[in-house]
Symmetry: C3
Amino acid sequence: MLKEKTIRTSKHNELIDITSDIRLMIRESDIDEGVCHIFVPHTTAAVTINEKADPAVARDIANDLERLVPDSPAFTHAEGNSDAHVKTTLTGTSEFLIISGGEPVLGIWQAVFFCEFDGPRTRRYVARISGS
Amino acid sequence: MLKEKTIRTSKHNELIDITSDIRLMIRESDIDEGVCHIFVPHTTAAVTINEKADPAVARDIANDLERLVPDSPAFTHAEGNSDAHVKTTLTGTSEFLIISGGEPVLGIWQAVFFCEFDGPRTRRYVARISGS
Amino acid sequence: MLKEKTIRTSKHNELIDITSDIRLMIRESDIDEGVCHIFVPHTTAAVTINEKADPAVARDIANDLERLVPDSPAFTHAEGNSDAHVKTTLTGTSEFLIISGGEPVLGIWQAVFFCEFDGPRTRRYVARISGS
């Protein structure tokens, strides 16, 4: 089952918790045992799994990726957002979740975050849920 | 088939070769052709695939991630381990292996490494092995 | 269905668009709905998904990974290519594509790139295409 979701980002760099939407997609699929493949069809946005308990963690990650990959005069891409493309490759545009008992297998502190690196924009992601 | 394994790490930052345990899980599954999805349910630990032949490689990777993402006064997360969270997002909490002929498809130098970024701790990882 | 492809790289660091070969593999599989798992069996090469429209993006990514992970006297691996191993862990040796309607689900600007970090060499990658 293929699902698509639109998401509106509000900052230039931010991580947005999308776990509840992913959980809903998995429940709607009625698949108890399987895998959920999440894919971001953008080149300046990504997806990661990290801590949700303290929202400071998501901000620290977004800010530290800024520090690691600042905009630079060495970049030659005419659109001027090569830093966002590098962050996308470092973070990755996909994640999978193992499904067991109708729920994603996630650690107690884990959440799935949509990563905006060149916003604000209207974005989307795709999820495929399959049983075995 | 879903398997879970506990692992005890002994350093603050280290990569631990878990390939033999993964191979055993795949053999126990009796699945000849399929995919093994490996997932780390932590937010300051990850999994990567890299060279096993020279143990210096795993140490160089752990040390260079320290250099890339040092602890910083800019971090706001109260637990003080945001560097470990950033390393987790850069490395990723999951990997998949293609299974062919009952064995994971791996290059001759490749091994699967559990990545501890905030140890020592007792950790775990989950593997799902499915045929096609 | 398991496919393997050999690729000849021509530079020390480069990203090579392999999307047309992946599309061909998917078409040959006759699988309309499923997942394509792509795996690079090397420890100094990787795979990423990023922008193809402007070739400057792929060059900017390769160059910026050079900036992020330069060769260093701190590395202890005797072969002297630990920077390439670190880049491999940061980028990742695998990607999956969701298949829908017989085609990979990709954004309009997205392409799949083989990432050479220690070339030029003869390399290979493996793709497994499975339906649901």
